[in-house]
Each structure stands twice: as C-alpha cells, then as structure tokens.
C-alpha cells in the first residue's frame, strides 16, 4: 500500500511536470493518466490488449475474398457510385491493394468515432444509407478488421464534399503487438490536399495473400448481388433528372497491375456480364414512328440493321403512338459453347434476379416491369409455347427500355403499379417483343438451330431458310376481330380442304397409337412380373434385417462364452465372418430398398454411387476370388442428369453379376475395374472384367430380352448351386434404364488385361438441373 502511494505521487508529479512543457507528448500524457487511473482505490476499469486487433482481424475474417468483399460493401454503404480496386504486384505476397470510391467520405469526427472506434453501432442504428437509402450490405463493424486481415499497412485518404481538405490516416498493424495497451498506440493523421470532391481511398500495403485473377473474380461474384446490371446512368440520356436522391446504381471495377505496366481489367460489368452476351439487340423509334433495330454479335459475326413497323407484315406502317423510345437488350444463351460454364452460373443467378427488360420512363424505373415473375413482353409464355424454339425467356435477357414522355402518352395507374394499358403501351409491347424475337431468330439462323417446330433440314444438313411471322402480343379489340375473321375467312372450299387434312392426320395418329399400345401392354405385363418380384425382395430385405441384428448379437455372445474351446471357437469365427459378408451383401440391397422411399429424381454424383457400390460388393467379390479394383475417376465433378439412385444400383449390380459369371466360366483370376469420366458433355462408365468375353457377333444381342449365355432346356436342369445361370433379363433392364435417359450402352474393346468392357454414357447434369437441386 505504501509503495503504491509513493508511485501515485511520483506519477502525478511526472504528469504535472510534463504538462508544463511547451511540446506535449500526448502518448505519454495518456500513458501516465491511464496508470494514475489504474491506481484509483475504489474503482477498476477494463483495459484492452492490442492483440485484440489481431484476433478480430486475422482470426475473425477467415478468407481473403470475404475481407475484400466487406470493403466493397462499405463503399456501397457510403453511397458510392463507383469503386475501383487495383491489385498491384499481387502475384506474390506483399503486394498493394488500392480501393478507391466516390462515396460520402468521412469527416474527422466520423473517422475517429466511426472507423477508429471498435464496435461502433452506426450501421445498426442506420440500416439505410443516407442519400440513396440503400439497404446497407456490410456486416456490423467488420470492415476495419478486414483491412488488418489483408495487409500489414493501411493508409486511408478520405474527403467529404463540404470540406476543403482531405484527411490521411496511416496505420501500421505491426504496432499492435500483444501485451501492449490498445489505447496508447497512436496512428498518424495528416491534413492533405483534396484529390477529388468526395470519397475514400484505402491503400493496403504488404498484402498477406497472393491474389490471382481467379480470386479477384471470386470477390466480384461475392459482391455481385449489390451490383446492378444496369444503373440509371446507363439508361438516362435526358437531363431532366432533378431528384438527387435517386440511386444511380453501384459499380465496381477490378484491376490488376504488375510493376509499371498499365493496369488490366480483371472484373467489371463488361468482363463479367456483357462480354458473355451472345448478341446485343437494340431498337429505337424516332419522331417518324418507324422502328429501327440493330442486332450485333461478335461471337457469331452478326451485324444487321432493319426496320420494324406497327403492322407485323408491313414495316412501313409507323407506330402511331410511339416516339422517342429506345431499348437495348443483352441476349444470353445458356449453352456451353456460347457461355463458359464458369460464368453461366453467376449470370444465370443474376438473370434470375435482374433478367428481363426493365422499363424507365423519364428517367424513373417503372415497376413491376421485369421484376421476377413479371412477363410484360410475353417472353416466358412464348418460350413455353414453343412455336419459336430458340431460348428466349426473360432469363435470357438483361435489358431496358427508355421512354421519354414529355407529352404523357403513357400514364401510370392510380395505384402506381405500372402503366395504363392504352394503345401507346400496346404498341410499345409489340415493338419490343417483335424486335427481340427477330434478333433471337437471326441468332438461331446463324447458329443453324431449329427455329420453329416444322422446320426441316436440307440435304447439306442445314435448316432451310424460313421467314417466321412474328405475331403481335398485344392487340386492340378491333385488331383481334380482324385477325379472327381472316383466319375463318369466308371461302368454303378452303375450309373443306383443311378439314380433310386434319381428318387424315388424326386417322394416321390413331393407327400409330394402336400399334404402340400393343407393345406397351406387352411390356407392361413383363414389368408387372418384375415389380412384384421387386416388392417381394423389398419385403424380404426388410424382414430379415430384424433377424440379422439378433443373430449378430447371438454370435458375439457365444464367441465370448466359448473362450478356451479352440475348435468350436475357430468354427464360430468362420461363421462370424461368413455372416459379416452376408450382412454386407444385404446391406447394399437395404440401401437400395430404402432409397425407394425417395420418389423424386435428382442429379447423381457418380463418385458416391460407384464408391459405395465397390465398398459394399468388395467382400462378396473377394469370396468369389475376384479382385474389385479401386475405381478410377477422371475428375471430382461427375454428375449425371436427374435419375433415381436405385437405377444406378440396379445397373451396376447387373453388370457386376454378369462379370462374375463370365469370370467363373473363364476360371481366371478375376478382376473387375470401373472407370468413370466425362466426355463431350456425357458421363461415361466403363465396366471391365477379364471373364470369358462376349462371342463375336453377340455384342448387340446381349442386350435383348432372355438372351442368356447358358441355355437351359428344362427346369429340372437348373442347378441350385450354380450361379452361372441368369434369367437373361439383367442387361435388358440395364439397357432400358440407360435408354430411358437417352443414354447409350454398348460393348467396346477392352483394355489390355481385360476381355470385356461395357460402356454406358448418360447426359451430364445441366447447370439448371444442379441449380434446381441446390448443388
């Protein structure tokens, strides 16, 4: 106690002496005051170790990409319109990252009370951003720790609009060592000249990670949900946009710079989204009312200009009520040739949210057009109807229509949900719809893709050229009436001819249907027999499960009791292992049976299917002296199109039993190998064995019904112990399953140490399928 008092006095006098100096060392003042305060008898205070920064940064923010995406979100939250990220010399550790935005910036108070204050609550208190009322995206107070996570040093240069200087703050994270007091570590704050009107620049030096193009793109994808495909600045060409608080949208540009080279764009809207469009379809109507459209595609080398009129059949008829309209649409085709898989998923996700053609009137977005579920241009419906075949749903477009409407030809409904559907609006719908479909057909023609169901291929394998009449989607009542009258037009003879054609077609269809029906009935009766067998097996497997648990328990009990009786014990151990492999064998069927509870089909992961098959069949194979080699996969991503898992079980089991029989006939040292991979968008399986092979000429027959390798004349000849006999149905069923999914199954030439190889090919899962099943 005595000691401390002395110390307290000492500290006091030190502080007083120092305070009389002309030049104050604020760090020392703070340190002394802390020490004095710590000696107060009746009260204690928390102190914070500087190591907390490290804990919160490196340990809280696990992944580098997350850290950067948090910083981009901060810019978004600060009502920034554009943020640029430049990764300098980032191919090795120690590079520099510059994040530059044109957001609000921070005043000195905001910097001190916000950024420099740990666990600030400002984002919690203000969930919406100040000017544009954005839903704030950043996580509460994680930003600055992200910075620490990323690099060793940080410089913040920030300026606000109504101030005539900028602030520059330098932080060296290495100063924040463990076992020092967080509150006494000072950071340099300077007042510097403004470099722009407002905004914040973060310079992170000594990056802790390498940044490849792929990881930079990943950041872009993480933040893509706050970036809109079109921002108002893209759209609005008029200056009559006087509301300052309309959100102009948010853009992010990602650059990479090595040494003194000029920076290259790694990711931005153009690289990540627009460049992948197959075509750009644009249209506009000027004062004359005639629509002009252009279709451009670098990928397909299309460059077309055309006219479009109010009458689908006459392009010289002007749109009477349309003026000063323009639109632009990026067209995406989800086909691996045209859209790399890597980007397809993210673009599809974006399109699910933002797809369709948005409508802007006098600089304001009009809802609900192109909101998810809205189909104002009849694209989804038209795509479903399939009178026009190439992809053209809302999901395939990102675009907007801009109308300048000083005369108020378009009126918003009183509920402020959309525009009144007057003639002007109908013409707008027709114009945009027909232009887009024209573009879609043009692209399909260049790609040599079937455009309408009746189109045929010519001798060269190309689709004949056709001109498709694109109908209006919106019509006035008079127009509808006219259309109807023309269709039913007075000429009686033509009517009769038409009826005859229809009648003939129906009769032909009927005959076809009857012959098909016969086949179906035959096949169905076979299936009935098989399914009842299947049901019995199911029942059996379920029932014996109970007994098996008991037997297992009984065996292990007897084993423990027979301690000492070697002969009996030995025999029992054999029984135990026999029973074990029996249990293994049935467990496979048990899995298959219980899979039947799941009725829906989904993409199948071949690694799982084949691995689990090999694992369960391994002990059975070993008993038969067959080596089931470890399966080979060409890669880790092998998903077939949606199937039922038990179908694969059945296919693999059939192939396996066939191989087993072939090996027993050949009396060879059996070997079975399953290989799986991907080729030309098909998943293939090659099932090889070294059995007695398939006789030449029978390669096709083996897939027929009741083809067996051993013929039996009468039931009496059936030897119960012989496994060699089959019903001849196995491969037929396998083939049916594969064919059911438009797959292929055939005998291919076997590799060196094998004699037979059966190859199955099945379509791989599409991105859409995987998406739907959450994979």
């Amino acid at each position: 106690m005595e000691d401390k008092l002395v110390t307290l006095d000492e500290l006091k006098s030190q502080l007083t002496a120092h305070l009389e100096n002309n030049e104050l060392d604020y760090g020392l003042v703070l340190k002394l005051s802390h020490e004095i305060a710590a000696l107060e008898k009746g009260k204690v205070r928390f102190s914070i170790d500087a190591g907390v920064i490290d804990r919160l940064g490196q340990e809280l923010v696990a992944r580098q990409e997350t850290a950067v995406s948090e910083l981009v979100k901060n810019s978004f939250d600060a009502d920034s319109e554009l943020v640029t990220l430049t990764f300098k010399d980032s191919d090795s550790i120690g590079g520099t990252l510059i994040i530059d935005d044109d957001g609000d910036g921070m005043t000195r108070d905001e910097l001190v009370d916000g950024f420099m204050r740990i666990s600030t609550t400002s984002k919690l208190h203000n969930p919406l951003s100040r000017i544009f009322k954005r839903q704030r995206a950043g996580q509460k107070g994680i930003g600055r720790f992200s910075v620490q996570r990323l690099g060793l040093g940080l410089t913040i240069i920030t300026q606000v609009a109504d101030s005539n200087f900028a602030l520059s703050l330098k932080i060296n994270w290495n100063d924040y060592k463990k076992d020092s007091n967080l509150l006494t570590i000072s950071n340099e704050l300077e007042i510097t000249e403004k470099t722009k009107r407002k905004g914040t620049q973060l310079v992170i030096t000594g990056l802790r990670d390498k940044w490849s193009n792929a990881s930079i793109r990943r950041v872009y994808r993480y933040v893509s949900n706050i970036i809109q495909p079109f921002s108002l600045t893209d759209v609005v060409t008029t200056e009559n946009n006087d509301g300052d608080d309309i959100d102009p949208g948010f853009k992010a540009l990602f650059y990479k710079q090595e040494g003194n080279n000029s920076p290259t764009t790694v990711a931005d809207q153009t690289v990540m989204v627009y460049d992948h469009a197959v075509a750009e379809i644009q249209g506009q109507i000027d004062d004359s009312g005639i629509g002009i459209y252009t279709i451009d595609s670098k990928k397909l080398d299309i460059n077309e200009i055309g006219e479009i009129g109010n009458d689908p059949d006459d392009s010289s008829v002007p749109f009477s009520e349309l003026k000063n309209v323009r639109f632009k649409a990026f067209y995406y085709i989800y086909d691996p040739d045209l859209l790399p898989k890597m980007h397809a998923t993210s673009i599809r996700k974006l399109a699910q949210r933002e797809g369709g053609i948005k409508l802007y009137r006098n600089g304001f977005r009009v809802l609900p057009y192109a909101e998810p579920g809205n189909d104002w241009l009849d694209l989804d419906r038209s795509a479903r109807r399939r009178t026009i075949l190439p992809q053209h749903a809302n999901l395939n477009f990102l675009g907007f229509v801009e109308i300048k409407d000083p005369e108020n030809l378009f009126n918003e409904t009183s509920s402020r949900e959309g525009l009144i559907e007057n003639n002007a609006f109908m013409q707008l719908q027709n114009f945009v719809h027909r232009t887009i479909v024209t573009g879609v057909l043009k692209v399909a023609a260049v790609r040599n893709i079937k455009q309408i169901p009746s189109q045929e291929k010519n001798k060269l394998g190309n689709y004949e050229e056709i001109s498709v009449r694109i109908k209006n989607i919106a019509m006035t009542i008079e127009e509808l009436e006219r259309e109807f009258e023309e269709g039913n037009g007075g000429n009686k003879k033509r009517g009769k001819r038409k009826t005859k054609v229809i009648k003939d077609a129906v009769e032909e269809l009927d005959a076809l249907h009857k012959s098909e029906l016969k086949k179906t009935i035959k096949e169905r009766s076979m299936l009935r027999v098989l399914s009842s067998v299947g049901l019995t097996v199911t029942q059996f497997i379920h029932e014996i499960k109970h007994h098996m648990d008991h037997i297992k328990s009984d065996i292990s009990f007897i084993i423990s009791e027979l301690e000492g009786n070697n002969v009996a014990l030995e025999r029992l151990t054999i029984l135990d292992s026999n029973f074990e492999s029996f249990a293994n064998y049935t467990s496979y069927f048990n899995d298959v049976v219980s899979q039947n509870i799941i009725r829906d089909i989904r993409p199948q992961n071949m690694l799982k299917i084949i691995n689990s098959f090999v694992n369960t069949m391994d002990s059975d194979a070993m008993k038969s002296g067959i080596e089931l080699l470890p399966p080979k996969f060409s890669k880790d991503w092998l998903y077939t199109k949606s199937m039922h898992p038990s179908e694969w079980s059945s296919v693999l089991f059939n192939l396996y039993t066939n191989s087993k029989k072939a090996i027993q006939r050949a009396k060879s040292n059996g070997k079975i190998l399953i290989e799986c991979g991907e080729e030309n968008d098909l998943i293939f399986i090659e099932f090889s064995d070294n059995g007695d092979g398939i006789e030449i000429g029978a390669e096709e027959k083996i897939f027929d019904e009741f083809y067996t390798t051993t013929s039996v004349d009468s039931l009496a000849e059936l030897d119960q112990n012989s496994e060699i006999l089959g019903t001849g149905l196995g491969l037929k069923i396998t083939k049916d399953i594969v064919k059911g999914y438009h797959g292929n199954i055939r005998v291919v030439s076997a590799k060196s140490e094998f004699s037979t190889c059966i190859r199955i090919e099945i379509g791989k899962a599409t991105e859409k399928e995987l998406d739907e099943h959450g994979i």
């Binding site: 696990a62 463990k178 109970h546 648990d549 009990f557 799982k608 991503w637």
Partner: protein, 356 residues
C-alpha cells in the same frame, strides 16, 4: 441396485435383453397391444427408463413409438417427478430423418441403431445408466431449487468465460421445471457438439498431435484441470475449449494464440515443453493442404483447417456458443455432401471440383 428398463418391441426382444442384462440393467419386455394395454404394462414395471422400437404396428400395436413417447412427455408436464428418459432403438437407419423431426417435438432423449447395440453394448449401457442418473440428479436439483449450472462443474478459472446464455437458459423457469428439457439441453447443446466443450478428435486437431501417439494419454493428463467432469462426462470425454487456450498460455507459456500455428509449429512447442513425451503430428485426409487444424470434418472426423474446409449451412437450432461445422473436400466428394454447404461454399467447392 440395477436400473429397471422397459423395452417396448413388437417382435422378438430376447437378443437385446441378453445384450443389456449383463451390463447391470434389468430389462423387461413389453409387447405392445392397444394403447391402454401398453401404457398399463409399462407402468406396472415402474421403470427408470423406456426403450422402444420405432415401428410397433406390425406386431399388433395400435400406435408407433411417437404416440407412446408423447403420452409420457405430456404426463411430465403436470408432475415433473414422473419424467422418464425415453430411448429409441431401431434397425432402420433411415429413421434418423424422422428422429430429427421428433426431437423438435421433445420426444426422445437418444437414438440407438440396433445393429450397433451388441457391438457397443458397454458404451450404450453406460449412456443409458448415465441418462437415468442424470434425470434423477436434475430432478433433485430442481426440487431443491438449486442452480442447474452447478451440474456442469465449470472450473473456477473459466467461470467468467462461459457464454452467459448457457447459464440464462438453464436458469430460466422452463428449464428449472422440466427434467427432459434440461437434460437434452445439456446433452445435445453443450456436451455432444463442438463448442464450449470439445472431444478427443478436436483436441487432437487443435494441439496438432495425433491421438495414436504413444504419449497422447500423458499429454491429456497435463490438461486434467480442464477436462469436463459434469453431467454426461461418463459417456462423453470432453475438455473445456477455452481451458485449452488457458493451458496453452499458462502451462505451455506460449503467448501467441494456439490458432496461429500449424501442426508442425504446435508440435515443436509441445516437445520443447515436454521433451520426454513421444508425440506424433496429426494428419488430415489426403485432400487437405494446410495444417492449421482447428476442428474436424463432420463426416470423417479427421482434422481440418476452417480456412480450407467447407462450411456447412447451419440450421436454426445452432446455438451461438457452438462452433461452425465443416466438411473436408474429400468427404464432400465421396459422400455427395455438397447440398449441405452454404451458398458461397457450394460455389467454391464446385469450382475446385471442376478444375480437378
């Protein structure tokens, strides 16, 4: 005195009875009939615990297990003394789906797959006994108005670091009056999952030392002070997660956080501290690349680095004091677990797998 168990089973029950009886459990078989008959028979045995098969209707019962369990659970609302532990025993592993559903309806304490019972009868009989003892312990504590938190036996040193919400929950009125709730909270939200407590695998991952090391046991002994000794510690060997960090700082005298080292680094520090111990480095599955292990893969239970592994989408029941769960790349690949990941992780996995 052996505990009394009633086993409700519509089929042959002798093997299960033979399995459990040597483990000091007195098992009576109840063949289910009508609902009333079943209840009457169960009650006549005055059991300490009810064990039941899931499907009972095939052998003549009117209802399946949940209805009977429901009856006993609702009985306990009026009289907390009559609260009985109920364990589900089934041969159908697919029941797990239903089971997960029923836990939310507060029905079963535990689920045993029949197949594993005879293999691990010591483990399961221990758990059954501990369940009964814990029920009695909680019940006494509640009647005497004692703090349920005491049952966790938190070491004094760690007292302030334990998530206050754990204490709040156990002290809330509902938990102070319902034995089943309190028991399942302690078992399922504290003892079993990785979070405030960690098991041997996670401990091995965090220390960077293989469990198969000759002196693993000796190393664990140095952690004795932080071994969990509260309710259910008989069946589950656990350590206080934060205790390990205290130990690292105070006993190992290393000021840098445990998480900052890879296995190599941790092993080196440990060997300098305990030169006589024979310790080996722990290794992850073949697809792991870094060694900053912190937790384990939920599928193969091998150590993983959370920075490298893939985060599992957590359900709503994840308590704030529990750790995020992860799968390793290999597990996702071989067992088709991609669906269970969070959105961002799914995309990351997909990219990696496609590049493979």
């Amino acid at each position: 005195m052996a505990y009394k168990i009633v086993y409700i089973e519509d089929q042959d029950a002798s093997s299960v009875i033979h399995d459990l009886s040597p483990c000091d459990l007195d098992v009576a078989h109840c063949h289910p009939g009508t609902f009333k008959e079943t209840i009457t028979e169960v009650d006549s045995h005055k059991p300490d615990l009810i064990l039941m098969d899931f499907r009972l209707t095939q052998g003549g019962s009117e209802v399946n297990a949940p209805a009977i369990a429901q009856y006993y659970r609702s009985l306990a609302i009026d009289d907390s003394n009559s609260c009985l532990p109920i364990v589900l025993l089934s041969n159908d592993s697919k029941i797990r789906g239903y089971y997960d559903d029923f836990t939310s309806h507060d029905l079963f304490d535990f689920f045993i797959i029949k197949e594993y019972l005879s293999d691990k009868k010591e483990k399961y009989s221990l758990l059954i006994k501990e369940l009964i003892a814990s029920y009695k312990c909680i019940s006494t504590s509640q009647i005497e108005n004692q703090d349920l938190v005491d049952l966790l036996l938190i070491p004094d040193k760690l007292e302030i670091d334990i998530d206050p919400r754990i204490k709040e929950t156990l002290r809330s009125k509902q938990y102070q009056s319902n034995v089943y709730l309190a028991s399942s909270f302690i078992l399922n939200k504290i003892v079993k999952p990785v979070g405030v407590l960690i098991g041997e695998d996670v401990l091995s991952a965090r220390l960077g030392v293989s469990k198969t090391s000759n002196d693993w046991g000796a190393l664990c002994k140095t952690l004795k002070n932080y071994e969990y000794t509260g309710l259910y510690s008989g069946s589950y060997q656990r350590w206080w997660a934060y205790g390990i960090e205290v130990w690292w700082k105070e006993i190992i005298e290393e000021s840098n956080h445990l998480r900052r080292f890879d296995s190599e680094g941790k092993l080196k520090i440990l060997q300098e501290k305990f030169p006589t111990l024979q310790l080996q480095k722990v290794v992850g599955d073949p697809t792991t690349k870094t060694e900053n292990f912190w937790t384990i893969c939920q599928r193969n239970f091998l150590p993983i680095d959370p920075g490298e592994a893939f985060e599992i989408q957590s359900d709503l029941t994840l308590m704030p004091w529990l750790d995020t769960k992860y799968y390793s790349y290999e597990s996702i690949r071989d067992y088709d677990l991609i669906k269970e990941l969070t959105d961002i992780e799914r995309a990351r996995y997909k990219e990696m797998a496609k590049r493979s």
